[in-house]
């Protein structure tokens, strides 16, 4: 699991939209994985198992935030679209960070899993828990949005 940490951290940073929240998410994932280690089936991929867990923790966290009435997500999404406003100015965001933030979660996770983590469509679909076709179309939409934002020339 120690060997997987850098990759888990990378995915978490992309999913949570910033490294600090990413590390919190990653830590929660590690603790939950340790807690549930008996449930991991030998012979299956530990990395996929943990990525799935991380994604679920992230989604739960998002729902909890919404229930608490926090507008965190909307603000951050908006931030990516226009100029950085308010206290977020302090954090210098790269063009790519901004572009990724504008993507809906489902597109962002598809892009991250395939284009950054290098999973096949099938593996990524299994982690997300959706049909391959669904993953494929989310991926294409996410990509197109990124290309449009970053410029086709990249």
């Amino acid at each position: 699991m120690l060997a997987l940490l850098p990759r888990l951290r990378r995915f978490a940073a992309g999913l949570a939209r910033n490294p600090a929240d990413g590390d919190d998410l990653c830590q929660a994932t590690v603790l939950r994985a340790l807690d549930r280690r008996e449930r991991w089936q030998k012979g299956t991929r530990l990395d996929s198992w943990m990525m799935t867990m991380m994604r679920n923790i992230w989604i739960d966290e998002q729902r909890a935030r919404k229930r608490r009435g926090e507008t965190f997500v909307a603000e951050e999404a908006g931030l990516g679209v226009g100029e950085g406003g308010g206290q977020e100015e302090a954090v210098e965001l790269s063009v790519i960070d901004r572009a990724l933030r504008t993507l809906p979660d489902e597109q962002r996770e598809a892009v991250l899993l395939v284009m950054v983590e290098g999973y096949s469509y099938k593996e990524a679909a299994a982690i997300v828990g959706c049909p391959v076709g669904t993953l494929n179309s989310r991926l294409v939409r996410g990509r197109d949005a990124l290309l449009a934002r970053l410029g086709d020339g990249v």
Binding site: V114, M115, R143
Partner: protein, 225 residues
């Protein structure tokens, strides 16, 4: 025959099956615009990869690695904590609620290294069991325990003296002595206090809980070794 955006992306990702991949490759070769799109997908992947690469290289924070580290030290700490927790309630009723550390320090003095119990006291330490002693025995054993070197130790009290002695190859070495019940009661009438102070000292010295009746009897049969 046409090619969709999905096809192009999947082609760039190497996700098409061989037959479809060959078809798409042929169309791309014939159309520079399609070729450019595939290039754009690949460039995007490279750029995203490069963007997140520093995280892979960065040192991991303690908050992430700590839960995965071997827990040697934690086990030792947990054990100590457990034993301390087990010891306290078990002895607390015996020692009474009014343990006064300052009093214990004032009353008790550590002893030299070659000071051994003699005469009746040595006899009591060697033979008398907590469970079997009479309530009016002149010297009463308060409890027996093992210290950090695994030596058996016994806390005792009498009218004239209280203390703790531990068994080694030569006999019962006095580890701590203090005034007895009578000396204490002369001025202040604080009956029981010497015993409480001895118990507190014993608690600090002991590793594990006090011996129960069966363990004490077994230890006596082995000559406290």
């Amino acid at each position: 025959m046409s090619v969709t955006r999905e096809d192009l992306a999947a082609f760039a990702d190497g996700e098409l099956d061989a037959a479809r991949s060959a078809e798409v490759a042929a169309m791309i070769a014939a159309d520079p615009a399609l070729e450019a799109q595939v290039q754009a997908h690949r460039a995007l992947r490279d750029r995203l990869g490069a963007h997140f690469a520093p995280i892979l290289e960065a040192p991991l924070p303690d908050s992430l690695t700590a839960p995965l580290r071997p827990k040697v030290i934690d086990f030792a700490q947990a054990r100590e904590k457990r034993e301390r927790a087990r010891k306290l309630p078990r002895w607390a009723w015996f020692a009474g609620p009014a343990l006064a550390a300052s009093l214990a320090l004032a009353v008790f003095l550590p002893r030299g290294t070659d000071d051994y119990a003699e005469g009746p006291l040595a006899e009591v330490l060697e033979t008398q069991l907590v469970a079997a002693q009479s309530t009016d025995a002149p010297t009463r054993i308060l409890l027996s325990f093992r210290d950090e070197s695994s030596a058996y130790c016994r806390a005792y009290t009498s009218e004239s003296q209280s203390g703790i002695a531990c068994r080694d190859s030569q006999g019962w070495r006095m580890r701590m002595t203090g005034v007895g019940a009578v000396a204490q009661t002369g001025e202040y009438r604080m009956a029981g206090t010497p015993a409480a102070a001895v118990l507190q000292r014993a608690q600090a010295m002991a590793v594990g809980a006090a011996l129960d009746a069966a363990q004490e009897r077994a230890a006596r049969e082995r000559g406290w070794r």
